[in-house]
Amino acid sequence: MTRFLRTPDFTLAAIALLGFVVLAFATSGNLLSAGTLGAFFRFLAVPVVIGLSQMVVLAVGQMNLSVGALTGFCAMAAAWLMLEAGLPAPVAVLAALALGLGVGLINGLLVVFTRINGFIVTLATMTIIQGLRYGVNGPDTFQGYSAGLRAFGRASVLGLPVVFLCALVVAGLVGWFFARTVAGRRLLASGGSPFAARLSGISNDRSLVVAHGLSGLLAGVAAVITVAASGSVNASIGDDLLLPSFAAPIIGGVALAGGMVSVTGTVLAAFLVRLVDVMQAQFGINPRWIDLIIGAVVLGAVLLGTVRQRLHDRGSTA
């Protein structure tokens, strides 16, 4: 416990909690009303999952620029399967997950076999996927698919939307994967010191493929959440996910160099960004100022973390 108090996660958690409480008071409790809280968490699910999707590849020192486009593509594909191909929702959901996984694996294989920088590979596949995403239904919107799926997207348990709980479960699984499984540890070893990992008989190539595959699968999960929670999808889905996908893990303390992950940090960072969103709606802040505020909050959160770290270091050496 005392160890946790010193981590950057704690700083983030403290800021997030403080922000939440302050906002709750400032809105005289409106934030805590069922509707508001529901909206708050429902739209937190996708940022969390997409942040994790990026985190998984960051762990092996790669980037995945295609996460957003892939989420959109999987969402469109799922909707198409239900509306045009007339398949039942569970099949469409599984198909979306499989599609995400498949495209992710292709990303990974391309990175391994061509030895081209992952940044460029995923940039290229991003444009390809954007084309495919648009190809599904042009610029038009899909609507009115499976009532069951939409009910699932709107359902809540104890005031928390089911989709958000799903995202938390996914986050827990990802955390467990990296902390406890052999495959997860191997990914981190490859990311941290590829050469040392190789000397220990770990195949870095396999790590790359696994990481990209997992990233794609998580994009598929984000797609399913989107389809379920939003009730309508079109080719623009995923366009605003690229930056948040990086912002959440990096604000959460994940290094771009690879070798480490922080699931709690990623979730908390996504939470923090969402808080700012909601604040805008609650106070009707001039939208022109909102970006300024997000910038300031993000910077402030990270700065505070470093200051704490410094104070802590000084305290322990003196």
């Binding site: 409106n30 708050f40 042009g138 939003s230 309508s232 079109n234 969103d277 939208p287």
Partner: protein
């Protein structure tokens, strides 16, 4: 010493079969889809060399300029353009004019008072927003609060829409207030949905009507209001299938439709004439292509009204805007 550069801009006169028209929207958007058919129709009806529709500019002015130049290199010689950036598009028009091409600004006019295209055939966005707000005010019974959801804030069309909404609200003499204006949520559907959900969560109970003047916010608002079951009147924009369905099932109180078909077909007609040696009486003239309020009452018949307007526009071009020898 600088060479004079007017040597090429002498207008040439082309027969219809030599006219190749390019219709270029700002990017992929449902609004422009009717242009595709209108282009094909125009080609056959007017017996033009070619009419193409190219939506690859991806909402980026630089890319749009590229697309335009590529089409020019392909031999297209008349252009109907929705400028991505109303601030910059005059330069593009000027460029095309210097090369002797006929240019129409379609569906959006350049910012400011100057229009370097031959003409601008577009919805008066301020007027459309005004009409939408009027409809909303009527729907909420002339009293209450409304929210306005729209697109890119660094766009002068958005500024005009905000003004249009304000104008209609001001006319009520304080009985109706704008509680919030949310911009920048037309880039993608998810952001729009999120913004609508947050808005409804925060102020849903105080809001009586929502005016949307961009596509994704309109879809999101219709859906969001339906889900929360709040008694809010949503005024949408355009006549995408999802929105018409919304009107029919009551989720949407009304919509303001524009005239994309008219813009494309009349625009093509005017471009053909201009290429054929006609000149524009008043270069840079701004022509409203019309906007129409659609509610449940006229959802099946509004298109006739629109076609009438289109025919009027064509006559107006022949009689009023064009000077032909």
């Amino acid at each position: 010493t600088k060479k004079s550069d007017n040597d090429e801009s002498a207008a040439t006169s082309r027969g219809p079969e030599q006219v190749k028209i390019a219709l270029i929207p700002g990017g992929a958007h449902p609004y422009f889809q009717p242009w595709k058919d209108a282009a094909a129709t125009a080609k056959t009806e007017l017996k033009l060399g070619d009419v193409t529709f190219n939506e690859t500019s991806d909402w980026d002015q630089t890319k749009q300029n590229d697309v335009i130049k590529s089409l020019a290199a392909q031999g297209y010689n008349a252009f109907g353009i929705f400028g991505v950036s109303p601030e910059n598009i005059n330069s593009t028009f000027e460029d095309l004019k210097r090369q002797g091409f006929a240019v129409g600004s379609l569906a959006s006019c350049p910012a400011g008072d100057v229009d370097k295209a031959d003409f601008c055939l577009s919805t008066d966005t301020g007027e459309a927003a005004y009409k939408a707000t009027k409809t909303a005010i009527e729907a909420i019974g002339g009293q209450g609060t409304i929210a306005h959801l729209t697109g890119n804030k660094v766009d002068s069309n958005t500024q005009r829409r905000i003004e249009g909404v304000q104008k209609a609200v001001d006319e009520t003499g304080g009985k109706v207030k704008v509680i919030q204006t949310v911009t920048d949520i037309d880039t993608d559907l998810q952001s729009a949905q999120k913004a609508v959900a947050d808005l409804l969560a925060a102020k849903g109970k105080q809001i009586n009507g929502i005016v949307t003047t961009a596509y994704n916010p309109a879809v999101a608002a219709a859906e969001g209001v339906k889900q929360t079951k709040l008694p809010i009147k949503v005024i949408a924009i355009d006549d995408d299938k999802t929105i018409l369905d919304g009107i029919k099932d009551g989720a949407v109180a009304g919509t303001v439709v524009q005239n994309p078909v008219g813009q494309a077909s009349v625009g093509s007609y005017a471009l053909m004439k201009l290429s054929g040696g006609c000149t524009i009486a008043q270069p840079g003239v701004v022509i409203d292509s019309g906007s129409f309020v659609v509610t449940k009452a006229n959802v099946d018949t509004y298109d006739q009204e629109r076609q009438t307007k289109t025919n009027e526009l064509k006559t107006a071009f022949d009689g009023q805007y064009l000077v032909c020898k």
